[in-house]
Structure formats: C-alpha cells, structure tokens
Symmetry: C2
Subunit: 396 residues, 2 copies
C-alpha cells in the first residue's frame, strides 16, 4: 500500500459575502497606513470599490499610491513599475483590487519591492524570483477580489510573463506570496462580462481536474472534494451567465475558486497540471483569455490520453460529476464524459470551441511546444513535443 | 434570494503523512527552546513518539517539562496544573501529543498561562476564558496528533469541563487557540483501540452533520464537501476497524477530521451543533466517550426532527451519502437514511447502541436537559427541555 506525505498551509484570512468590504480597515491597519493600490480601473469604478476605498482612506488617514496599468496576462514591466513605487515611497502594504491578473501582479510586486538588484534588469529580476530561497520577505498584501476564477486570492502562486523571453509562470511562487487577507464579495462579480464569467468558471473547473486526473486512486476524500467543486461549476456557471445578479450562483462560484487551487486537492497527489503546461506558452505568445485557452484544449487532451491506463479515472469523473449511468461500458462512459465536458464549456457556458476562434494560428506551435516540454510534461500521462503539437493542431 | 457573510481563517500549518514528524524541529524552533510537553503517556510510548521527541530535544538542546495527567474529558484541574508549569518556567511553546483531550487541554493551558488572576480560582479562570476579549495572547502551540476524531488539531476550539459546576465547553475558543503547526501521521493511529477508532470516526461524521442539517439549501459547494467527508467515514471507518494498519483508511480518516470542523463547512450556515449541545452535558456528568454519546443520540434526534420542513434535507443526505434510490417516496428515503446511519454506527462500526450500554442511567436527565437548553437549543429545529429529555429517554 502506498504511503505519502504533504504539507498544507493556507493562512489567508477570508472575509466572504455581501458587504465583506466593511472589514477592509481592520485588514489593512495592522500593516500600516502607506498603501500601494493595484487595480483594474474599469472594475474598481463599476463596482463602486474605488469610491469606497478612497473615501475610507481619506477618512482614516491612509496615504495611497495608485497603479492601474496591469495587463490581462501581467508582464514583468508592470511588476517593475509597481515595485519602484513601493521602494520610492516606503509602501507598507499592497492592496490588490481585481481578478487574477491584478492579484498575481501584486504578489510579484510585494516581492520585487525587496529585489536587491537594479529593477530595470528584467532577466536578473526573473531569475531572482525563480531562484530557490532568494525571496525571503514580501510586503503584506490585502485583496479585494472581483472575479471567480484563478483562486490567486488564497494561494501562493503568481503567473507572470517575462515579455523579453516569452516565459510565463515559474517565478514568484511560495508561501511568502499568500495574501494576508482576502475580501470576497460575490456581488462584485455581477458586472463581469459573460466571456470572463465562463472563462473564470472553466479555470476553476480545470484547476480541479489538474489534480483529479492523477494516478492516485486511494484518496476518496480529496476526490470527493474535487467532484463537489466540478459539480458546482457545472451547475452554477450556466446560471451566472444567464442571470448575472444571481447571488447563489455567484457565491458558490466565488467560494469554489480558491479551494480548487489552495492545496486542498493536491495533498498526496503528484498534481500534473498538464493543461496549464500546454496553455501557458499560448498566453506568452498571444493575448488570449487563460480560461478559454484551457477549455479549448481540455477535450483534445482528454481524448489523447484516454487508454486502458486512464479509463477508470474517466469513469469516476463521468459518473460522479456528470451523473452518467455507471452500468454502461467503461469506454462509453469515458467518451460520454468527454462529450459532457464539451457540452458544458461550449454549449452551456457558451465558450469558443477552437483556437482559431480566439485569434490563434499555428505560427508559434513549434516554439510553444518546445517551451511546454522544456520541463517533463504531463505527470499523469507524459507527453512529447510532437504530441503537444498534435493536441494544439487538433484544437485549432 | 438570501445573502450572507462569513469569515474563514485556518492558519495552522499541517505536515501530513508517513514520517511527518521529521518536521518537528523546524516547527518548534521558531518559537523557542523551552517546551511544555502535554501528552498521553500510553499513546506517546506505544507509537514511539515519546522516544523520538525526547531524543530530538536532547540532541538539539531543548529544555522540556512533561505533563501527562490530562483526563479523557479534560477538566480545569489539568489546565491549571499545566498553566502553572508554564508560568513558573517561562515556557515558550506548548507541544501537545495525543488526541482531542490532550490538544484541547493544551489549548486552554496556552491561554491560562497568561491568566492575570490566581490560577487556583476555578470559577474566575472559567469566566475569564469564556469572556469576550479577555484572552489577548496565547503561547505558541505545536500538535502531534494521534487520533482521527475531534479535528482540534486544526481549529480554534477547546472543550474543557469545569468540574465544580459540571459545565462543559463554552470557554477557551477563538482564533488565538488555533494550533500553529499540526503534524498528522496516519501511522500513529494504527494502535488506537477499536472503540476509540469508531468513536473518533463517528465524531468526524457528526461534526459534519451538525452544519449539514441546516436550513440553508443554497450552498451546493459546501454540501458537496460535507457529503465527501461523510462518505469517507462511511467507507473507511469499517476498514480501519478491521485492518488497523491500513494506511489508505487511516489517512483518509485523519485528513477528514480537521475539515469537518475547521470552518470549511460552516460558511454561510447557522451551524446548529444540536447533537453536541445534547451530548456535552452527558460528558460533564458521566465519563463517557464523546463520539459514542453522539452516535447513540443521532438517530433518535433525526427521528424527532423529521417533518415536512426537514424531509428534503434527509432525502439529499440519504441519496448522496448512502446512495439510496432517489426515485422512492421522500419519507421512505428519509427513514432509510436514518436506518443507514444506524447500520453504519451500530453494525459496521460496531458501536454501542444505547446510553445504558455505556453505563448511563436517567439519574441526571433533568439537570442535563436544563444545561442543554440554557442557551437556545437546536438552531435547525428548536428543542425544548422536555423534548431533550424525550430524546435522552429514547436513547437509554
């Protein structure tokens, strides 16, 4: 019988629910009164967060600096600009207001503020962020989350693109990057555009599947948690798309997001993260929406890896997530499960089905596949560079 | 549509798995080298933990004090004795080695070490521990857990009995009581006696049910998490009883325990905790095993509250936890679900079925019911003192 070991550590304090922003002052105050506010201007304005926060700051005597130039796939440029503001003004705490991009960029900023080198040295900063043990200190960080998606509001990861080298991810990760406090009000997601609601929900679903599709079959508890999250997305994402102000749907999605990625599902598993390995190089070459890229790839990856070695996993997935009749033939269940995944993403969640639809061509497939396979690819089912290109082509 | 707000905060760092004790030195060292070790002697010896820890302490230059006089339902006497050792020796960190009783007692000790009054003043200490805002500081605490049961290893509660007043629970709770680090090695549970394995597993199951049986039906995500835990207990507890060294069963149970109580399941719910409200007074008058008392009461409580208002919840429970045919009549499903609960506890988990079997009489039913209803009883379905006595009698 297999024995294993893992660590679980998620010390982020979460204030969840309607009106949770009332906890902002108590969240920031212990860390100081000099704040770098990193935010998405449209969202912060549309939700009323910008007015609430700046009024609070005036009333309570905070000093704040504003940075609203984060790209959708945040680049090192933004990290550097934010970190310079921190260094020049002795910022005491970073306040991130937005979705995954803003939160990830803020995480990298809170570390880069202590970068010992020249902040304009892109590659030096990147190597420092990726090097083990280099980051020993980060600025405190509070999040006001406006999207149900990446789960960055309750994990220690930040996906940043080094635009000089087209590298995405791989730097700025670890326990020092976990937000100190996250404020999650489902009502702030009411105004998220439909294509981002579905992309965010697909992101939650696929984060979950990245650890669920795993050789370990001896962790029923964790499988059950994962199935609860996937069923939640399957039930509530279509509702949130049709009824943007449905609190029940928004709240379930918003609370599912962090649990898909904060470690609950990875204990005792190898956590292959194959789809993210395939998708991140796409994001480094094209400005696409992360969750859309993942959803387009997923069914093709599934068909590619379905075999006698994996079919039992697909059966469990099909029966427990989509309610497929367990008395059918194993491969029939597996194929129905893949079709149900497509039906969920491309019909019920109204997402684009092909890479062409989101503006991609095959121009960089070779470079992307090289990058995807630079480290061993596919812990669940290993993939070669040629197989990665095959999956990209099938998805085109 | 209902809107709600909650807080989630579980900063305990967990090292889980076979050999996780290798992280003990890194867990203690940041807090100091003067340790109060609170432990159950039999368990600490049988598992080899005592030898491992004391050898480590000698090798690494720790100073330690030993306290092994904690009762199964820990009394204030033990808290006071432990706190005196802390005060007299400037203890820097408490190391709890054991199950729920040892961990709970250690939590109260880490607070009582800062009690500003005379430690021999039982009622003064009790009132101080229960008073809002009195505890502003606790000693750091590391846990080596040896039971899958209360979940105290990852929550902020401590159930202590004031033996002068027969009060149980209600003091020493909150975020300051969350362990800093918990080491959970499923192999340490191999030697737990069968009756404690089943009582611990029932405790996990019933912690989960305490929030699951709730008026809120709009939190599918959390319901799914709860069902995963209950299914885990239903599957693995009978295995752990028959095959004490089954790592898979022990690991699933040990990881289920903290999630049943650390806040994951209570967000957005009222968390009635009715069965604990009924059971704690029993523990204050009789030295019974907590999980056995809960399991005996549960089916009687369920039959008592089954009505048109609650039947849909029982249907969900029966279908999703026990796989009962959803096409049957609602009440048929509900009754089958209660029978399946009895079958699980009293047949598959081989637990005692009546209060008489665990040595109780009706002598204190009146006092117990008075205590149980001192605060409003049964947030899900309110219960009067007379109804509480009726449930006790049915369980006798």
């Amino acid at each position: 019988m297999r024995e294993y070991q893992f660590r679980y550590y998620t010390p982020t304090k979460v204030f969840f629910g309607a009106g949770a922003i009332e906890h902002l002052d108590e969240s920031l105050a212990p860390y100081g009164k000099k704040v770098l506010m990193v935010f998405d201007k449209n969202t912060a304005t549309a939700t009323g967060i910008y007015d609430y926060v700046t009024n609070l700051f005036r009333e309570k005597g905070y000093q704040w600096w504003e940075y609203d130039k984060v790209d959708p796939n945040p680049r090192l440029r933004s990290v550097i600009e934010g970190a310079k503001i921190c260094k020049e003004n002795d910022i005491e705490v970073v306040l991130a207001i937005g979705g995954g991009s803003v939160i990830d960029c803020s995480k990298a900023i809170r570390a880069a503020a202590f970068f010992p080198g020249d902040l304009d040295d892109y590659d030096g900063l990147w190597a420092w962020g990726a090097g083990f043990g280099n980051v020993t200190k980060t600025l405190p960080m509070v999040v006001i989350c406006t999207m149900a998606s990446t789960g960055s509001e309750m994990d220690g990861g930040a996906v940043i693109t080094n635009e000089h080298t087209h590298q995405k991810g791989g730097a700025f990760m670890g326990e020092l990057f976990l937000p100190n406090v996250s404020i999650l009000d489902p009502k702030y997601t009411y105004s998220v555009p439909k294509r981002h609601v579905s992309a965010g929900a697909a992101d939650i679903f696929i984060h979950t599947s990245e650890t669920y599709f795993d050789p370990a079959t001896d962790i029923d508890l964790v499988d059950g948690f994962a199935e609860a999250i996937m069923k939640t997305v399957a039930k509530y994402a279509p509702i949130a798309i049709k009824e943007p102000e449905n609190f029940e749907a928004r709240a379930n999605l918003m609370w599912a997001a962090p649990w898909a990625i904060n470690g609950l599902l990875s204990g005792g598993r190898m956590s292959g993260w194959t789809l993210h390995g395939l998708q991140h190089p796409m994001g480094a070459y094209h400005d696409i929406i992360h969750g859309q890229g993942l959803a387009i790839l997923m069914p093709h990856w599934m068909r590619h890896i379905l075999s006698d070695n994996t079919v039992d996993r697909f059966v469990r997935y099909g029966v427990n997530v989509f309610g497929i009749d367990p008395s059918l033939d194993k491969y029939e269940i597996a194929n129905k499960a893949i079709e149900a995944t497509e039906d969920l993403f491309f019909n019920k969640m109204e997402m684009p089905r092909t890479l062409s639809e989101i503006g991609m061509t095959d121009e960089f497939f070779d470079e992307m596949a090289t990058q995807a396979t630079a480290r061993p690819m596919g812990m669940y089912v290993p993939l070669t560079k040629e197989e990665v290109i095959e999956i990209y082509k099938a998805a085109l």
